[in-house]
């Protein structure tokens, strides 16, 4: 299935992205982290603004769960 979701690496410095993501959760409780993650997904999903892409990403994320 040739979808619209791109899963090639997009960041020039992937480790810096990952560090930024993990650092955003520093000193938060688990509940606070879950809240941050939920807001983050909503913000990014709106930024993407393409429901086909989001459906594909959701399917990929649910796989093997």
């Amino acid at each position: 299935m040739a979808g619209k979701l791109r899963t090639e690496s997009a960041f020039a410095n992937p480790d810096e992205f990952y560090d930024t993501l993990i650092s955003a959760h520093r000193d938060l409780t688990e509940a606070q982290s879950a809240e941050v993650n939920a807001k983050l997904i909503l913000l990014l999903a709106n930024h993407i603004g393409d429901l086909d892409v989001i459906r594909e990403a959701l399917a990929a994320a649910r796989e093997s769960v």
């Binding site: 899963t7 090639e8 480790d15 992205f17 990929a60």
Partner: protein
Amino acid sequence: MGSYVYPVFEYKRCADHGLARPARHPVVVVGGGMVGLTAALDLAQRGVRVVVLDDDATVSAGSRSICQAKRSLEIWDRLGCAEPMMAKGVTWQVGRVFWRDREIYNFDLLPEGGQRFPAFINLQQYYVEQFLVERLQETRGVELRWKNKLTGLVPRNGGVCLAIETPDGPYDIEADWVIAADGARSTARRLLGLDFKGRVFEDRFLIADIRMDEPPFGRTGPTERLFWFDPPFHKGDSALLHRQADKVYRVDFQLGPTADPELERQPDRVIPRLKAMLGEDAGFECEWLSVYTFQCRRLDKFRHGRVIFAGDAAHQVSPFGARGGNSGIQDADNLCWKLALVIGGLAPERLLDSYDAERGLAADENVRITTRSTDFMTPRNAVSRAFRDAVLTLAAAHPFARRLVNSGRLSTATALAASSLNTPDGPGFAAAMAPGTAAIDAPVRIGNRSAWLLEMLRGGFQALYFADGPLAPPQAAALRELRTASVPVHMLAVVGPAAASVPDMPTLVDAEGLIAKRYDARPGTLYLLRPDQHVAARWRRFDPSLVDAALCRATGHT
């Protein structure tokens, strides 16, 4: 420790004992480990007399730093001791990463061939130090003083006074310059009362060096680095397996923050872990067991007047990435040509501040990169672990996630991009070999002989001129002036396979066209390279006044 017989170096009472006025030496290196020995060799080959003090009389106890990177091998080759290391070491370039029971990712650290040295060899630190000592013993101008323990370090008389304890009692010497390469628990650092700040990591790790006659898991192919996240044989934590010389294997188990170091180092605890990994019937002998924690920290400044810190004495990183020993070798490479010029009166003292700036940024980079690796490998809370495990799950199917899998980002030459010694790049060059970058190797032909580019770049400043014919008379005159200046520049011509050699210049034939490609060269392009083979400047044409200006800048004059 079975497989290696430790050499015992002879202690001799030195002539500096019992003098009314302490003897004065140009350079004293404190610490005869990989970094101190490399620095001593580099300085001696530049004609600077060196005394090395070491509180022991043998090489590294234990295999310790085992992954020797391509850049370190290139530096040691310049110093004439890479060959025995290559002969003894185990070459590798591919790493495989497993999660639970399957491989999710592999990486090739040297996808591009046409270079003399591999991405890595694995060679126990004791062998590295042994080969360095053997090379030093045949080098003039170096005195190795074993069982000489530093006990005092005080600035005095425009230099440094060192108090030393020996089997024959104490004595003092003075030095114009001291290189403190005495390791993570540096005595020199303590004697100067310097802070060593950074981050302590709580997780404990177990190193087991074991000897096996048969390769593990029936893996008879090329040597590869194997790393597991949460494997069935060591649930919840990570493990690493690496082959060294003499059929010795390094196994590294993450133990978590609550492990008892005394208990975990006992064979009755270690052997069951190894059997779970390698199989009940695997035959192995333990050579060295050690439980460690680590810290990422550095001195604020590497230069303190006439005492200059290098290697672990100056900075410490997490071991995942082989950036400890290898960054120390790059420190020595960076420092010694500068110190030799300053001692020779050919450069101002502030050139040494560029050592602090360049290698300080390198240390920051190494701390940052190894901290990220450690954070990935040892997630500190539930959300970090959830993201980590999500990355590992997605990695099998999605390329972007593979790039995020971090089991250590392995050491390469640090590009000194922000250095004040660099001449800003002109327009129109590809980024790869920008000023500050360490020169990349390529095959060359000289007459009928095959050779390597880096073996032609030895000693002092060099220029690589991608010739488009003989030089015009004014340029030829400038070339002769450059060659005989107080800080000389030796120019090498690079030509294509079909071109004639260039008069009055050693000519390298770019046999496979790889130099032109890797250096983004066109006819007329000129690279100025520092004595440590890093690019100082590059241009699309040979303008002698620009070369002069770049040389002044690269030697700290401007």
